[in-house]
């Protein structure tokens, strides 16, 4: 049985209170949280060091203006302790980055909700925010999958944070507006929250989460069916990625793609005019700029096994390509080769760094 801390305020306020407590008692010197940028309603992540800054904090807002894993790389390793409130997939993304030496969890207290999913940025920006979040929370409290969230969120099975110090219980919490349960998963969580409220034994409600998981699994099946390419192989890929404008936005916002100079933005694969001419001779026509499928296939080969399925890539794609759905599906298969679950364990190496002598004996004939 884990330790549990219950407050008698709504979840959003309780998390802010906890962050304020941590800052005021100098247990941390900064907190990373979602906050309102200004009165216009836009949102961003902020690293806040003064507790009055927390007035604008909305730590549990179901929006992902950026995958926080990237930002965590910028501010860690940190000498001064900080607390961060991020979605489960952002935390998993960060764990994947740490495995690539892009940050550290030392001195970081991680808080993460059981996640109802996030609303696509486009929807969030264009629609009335009050109605959106009202509907969203109605469904989340009931343990249902909100209508408005990202397709890959609907299909996400890892909505319970894997490695958070503190889990904020959100999914299926009927009384989300009047109380909040924090599950303290680590000794660090227990010692840092000491003095904030009374702690008892307690845990997440397994039955509620299990029922919810079944719904997500069903959604996942449907999602994977829906992106079964209409045609086979090459034609299917062209069908899906044919609209790609080559902006590489999907990899820029990806929590896994950390390379300062991406292979596909380097000149490594440039070809000269005579090669183009040669190709023209064979094909009689060329699409320019070239290498669209090359980029996507290549990226899959580099990072798919670490894809956390956050959906940020689909969100930013100007051509409306379901990038995340495709990558999630591909990634599940590549990770499964190694029984690998991205973001689960910071001490487990990424599959391409290690090997077993006794595996894949069938390859090499």
């Amino acid at each position: 049985m884990s330790k549990m801390l219950t407050t008698d305020h709504g979840a959003d306020k309780s998390v802010v209170d906890l962050l304020r407590f941590l800052l005021d008692t100098e247990k941390v010197s900064g907190v990373l949280t979602l906050r309102k940028t200004n009165t216009s309603g836009s949102l961003d992540y902020g690293l806040l060091t003064r507790s009055q800054e927390l007035d604008r904090a909305v730590p549990l807002m179901p929006v992902m203006p950026a995958n926080a894993a990237q930002s965590l790389s910028l501010i860690t390793p940190t000498q001064k302790p900080i607390a961060v409130v991020v979605k489960p997939c952002e935390l998993r993304g960060f764990v994947e980055r740490i495995k690539r030496e892009q940050g550290s969890l030392d001195n970081v207290l991680t808080l993460s909700p059981t996640c109802g999913g996030v609303i696509p940025l486009d929807t969030y920006i264009k629609k009335s925010k009050d109605n959106l979040t009202k509907d969203y929370y109605k469904q989340v409290k009931a343990g249902e999958i909100p209508e408005s969230i990202r397709p890959t969120c609907k299909a996400c099975e890892y909505f319970v944070p894997m490695t958070a110090d503190i889990t904020v219980s959100v999914v299926g919490e009927q009384n989300l507006d009047s109380k909040c349960r924090f599950i303290l998963n680590s000794d660090k969580a227990v010692s840092m929250t000491e003095g904030f409220g009374s702690v008892e034994n307690g845990d997440l409600d397994a039955k509620i989460l299990d029922d919810h998981l079944k719904k997500r699994e069903k959604e996942k099946k449907a999602l994977f069916e829906s992106i079964k390419f209409k045609q086979d192989g090459l034609d299917g890929m062209i069908d899906v990625f044919g609209k790609c404008i080559g902006c590489h936005g999907c990899s820029r916002v990806c929590p896994i793609c950390y390379c300062l100079l991406c292979d596909f933005e380097s000149r490594n694969f440039d070809q000269n005019v005579s090669l183009f001419e040669k190709e023209l001779e064979q094909k009689g026509a060329l699409r320019l700029p070239p290498d669209t499928l090359f980029f996507h296939l290549g990226r899959m080969s580099h990072m798919s096994f670490s894809c956390v399925g956050c959906g940020q890539c689909t969100d930013v794609c100007p051509a409306d390509i379901p990038v995340a759905s495709v990558f999630k599906k591909i990634g599940e298969n590549t990770a499964a080769l190694f029984d690998y679950v991205p973001g689960k364990d910071v001490n487990e190496d990424i599959p391409v760094l290690v090997f077993k002598e006794e595996e894949f004996k069938e390859l090499g004939e």
């Binding site: 192989g233 292979d263 064979q282 290549g298 090499g364």
Partner: protein, 141 residues
């Protein structure tokens, strides 16, 4: 199709084993198809899967990686990494319904001239049956 199909197979061969194996096949006067276009690399693990994808999309009908047998890599463990990456690429091709049979990984030691010739013959036969890679003609790529 009218014209006969002459397959082209890009073969990335590690210098220490498979490339030397290919040399041995040559000096032993073993026959292997002219379809094979060898590219020498220091170790099979030098072959980023992206190279295979590149060759595939640029119209290679088949792509082969040749490396030392597991345990024999001259950099100790390079080929184990090659094997994992190859498995990843195969899985991607599988998921996307691309023709993964156009990719092949073979362990060929420096003394296995005959194996090199056999692998090349087998692979070329198979590709011959599969026909040209559709990427050859597709203008989109």
């Amino acid at each position: 199709m009218g014209k006969t199909f002459n397959p082209k197979i890009t073969a990335f061969l590690c210098k220490w084993c498979s490339y030397t194996g290919a040399d041995l096949a040559g000096t032993s006067r073993l026959q292997y198809p002219t379809a094979i276009i060898p590219i020498k690399v220091m170790c099979s693990s030098r072959v980023d899967p992206v190279f295979l994808i590149r060759a595939f999309l640029k119209g290679a009908d088949g792509v082969l990686i040749g490396g030392c047998h597991p345990g024999d890599c001259h950099y100790e463990s390079g080929n184990y990494h090659t094997r994992r990456r190859f498995a990843i690429l195969q899985s991607i091709f599988d998921s996307l319904n691309l023709e993964k049979d156009r990719l092949r990984l073979s362990w060929i030691s420096a003394s296995e001239g005959p194996k090199f010739a056999r692998v090349c013959n087998e692979f070329t036969d198979k590709i011959q049956k599969m026909g040209p890679n559709p990427t050859r003609k597709n203008m989109f790529i």
